[in-house]
Symmetry: C2
Subunit: 338 residues, 2 copies
């Protein structure tokens, strides 16, 4: 039997559930190797089964390592589950309320993070995919020649995506951020149809083998920008040094946050220090104020402190860290681009 499925069956037995319902595409893909492109109901139990949509049957039959049936109707599916004697069902926290509503009359339902928990710890093969995605993304960034680029922000963003695809990525891992000037104070700025101003902040990543990468660089020009950049770089470096198995995620956030606060910019660091990534660009755990998760070998988490001065500019620096015995930064792109 498959290790991932075995682990879920153990969790189910411990918690007295008979089955685990998965509908999130990356979770279904993680468990079955078939990543839905339309809705699918994956039910993990002694004899796991996926109810796939008619339009996905060709790829589901091709890719899935667990049994696939064509979804006919909700009633047919529920009927089959009830006939097997299933009365209680664990669900994902992300399940839409309207789907939960359809199950709650026939089953006792509770949310569990069995798959998320497994996905927190990456295998060497998963980490290799993240490394390869990072390598493609960083190589493409350098080819972009950002210091001599005359295009608009939004054109630069899509040129970077095109380069990543040419270099072997299947696509970008999230909407590429290319922002500059005062707009860089928006952490999730949308690239605009305007020429690059100063500073330039680029937050980008590739997908390779289904796995995401994530980096940010900020290219600075003035003394004031350098001053802020130095603080962010110090927070970035010291947070990475602090990472090791056995400590809590929030302790890493505290390292970065304390440094930025000591320089007087605590209120301008307006997000968490980092997030896990893998099949999704945002996974758990994260380096945040309240995340008490103990860091373990096999986790892959970003470190991305930033300072955002409204009306002026923002600086963010981000690398992705794989945790073995200690924390290793993935990739070799210099922090300072000039």
């Amino acid at each position: 039997m498959d290790l991932h499925i075995d682990n879920i069956l153990n969790d189910l037995e411990k918690d007295n559930f008979q089955a685990y319902l998965l509908t999130k595409f990356t979770n279904v893909g993680y468990i079955s190797d078939y990543k839905p492109t339309s809705f699918a109901f994956c039910v993990i139990k002694e004899n796991p089964v996926i109810y796939a949509s008619k339009m996905d049957m060709e790829i589901a039959n091709r890719d899935s390592k667990i049994e696939v049936r064509e979804y006919e109707s909700f009633e047919v599916m529920i009927g089959e589950l009830k006939k097997e004697g299933i009365k209680n069902l664990a669900i994902e926290p992300t399940l839409p309320y309207s789907t939960y509503e359809k199950f709650r009359d026939d089953f006792s339902v509770e949310s569990k993070t069995y798959v998320d928990k497994q996905r927190m710890i990456k295998t060497p093969e998963e980490i290799k995919n993240i490394e390869k995605a990072t390598e493609i993304a960083q190589k493409s960034f350098l080819e972009l020649d950002i210091l001599n680029n005359e295009n608009n922000e939004n054109e630069v963003a899509f040129d970077l995506v095109r380069l990543m695809v040419e270099n072997g990525a299947s696509k970008e891992s999230f909407d590429t951020i290319v922002t500059s000037g005062a707009d860089s104070s928006l952490p999730h700025a949308i690239p605009q149809a305007k020429k690059l101003n100063q500073p330039i902040l680029i937050d980008w990543g590739a997908i390779y083998g289904g796995y995401c990468s994530d980096n940010t660089r900020t290219i600075i020009y003035t003394e004031r920008q350098q001053e802020i950049w130095d603080i962010v770089a110090e927070a970035h470096d010291k947070a990475i040094k602090a990472i090791k198995p056995g400590i809590k995620c929030c302790e890493v956030d505290k390292v970065a946050r304390d440094i930025i606060s000591e320089y007087g910019y605590g209120n301008e660091f307006i997000h968490s220090t980092g997030h896990s990534l893998g099949l999704d660009i945002h996974e758990t755990p994260g380096f945040s104020l309240r995340d008490e998760t103990i860091i373990e070998k096999g986790m892959v988490i970003t470190v991305e402190p930033g300072i955002y001065l409204e009306g002026e500019f923002g600086v963010r620096l981000e690398d992705t860290v794989a945790i073995y015995r200690k924390a290793d930064v993935i990739g070799d792109l210099p922090l300072k681009i000039d």
Copy 2:
């Protein structure tokens, strides 16, 4: 007071709810003009309020036409709502179960589609944005010169996105599909790192002013492909002619499905005939087997019949139709590309 909010307040009163909770980014954007980039809780009541994340405060304050407060903690937010005497809460069907769980102890909760219902009927201004998005997407498609393109499928896909951005789109409205040869039998095929084979199926769209476009063309080469293409084109044309205010959505699906079935390919038409679009690429209602929604003026719905021959090839043709007194195809790209 704002019309959208007024409508919701009327719905709430009729259904005996005190407030409506919105968290879906496009719904929050539709109501407030602020489209979150991180989580946000928008509560529509007599005095509507948005709890925005710290990192979104700059754009929320800039864009929102309703009051914005910085989200501090779940407890603070719940406390404020309870202090106002709110005891029952309508929620969106898409709300994740884990968010619902946080509200269910303090409020009586039920899912309602108040915003989806309003979004079904587009204003002339919304339709203009969809028309402009379509125009950009179709112009870019022609500039791609697909008949003389030597690139790989995935490169063509990203070249098309780059052209759309150059031509004024903010981005693609969904992952561009460029597929060819036997892979075209997968309705949601992922562009591969391989040269274009025959036939070529391209399904693409742009976003302009926040609004999506959606088109599909299949470029055919053999007699067998022509035979299938003709059937799909007949279903496409006759379904569009059938659309008018007052009939049910499922009746339009039936027109397309009956034609394809009469030619013996009913089992190879493996999805619905169409879906609404707007701020999202998939909205309700849709031209599907079971959608009994009555078609009204102001709806914008795609028509996209297809025939998928596993191991051989697939053909799909898609246009977007705006419903005024009758149904008008948006854009003027010929159905036959050769």
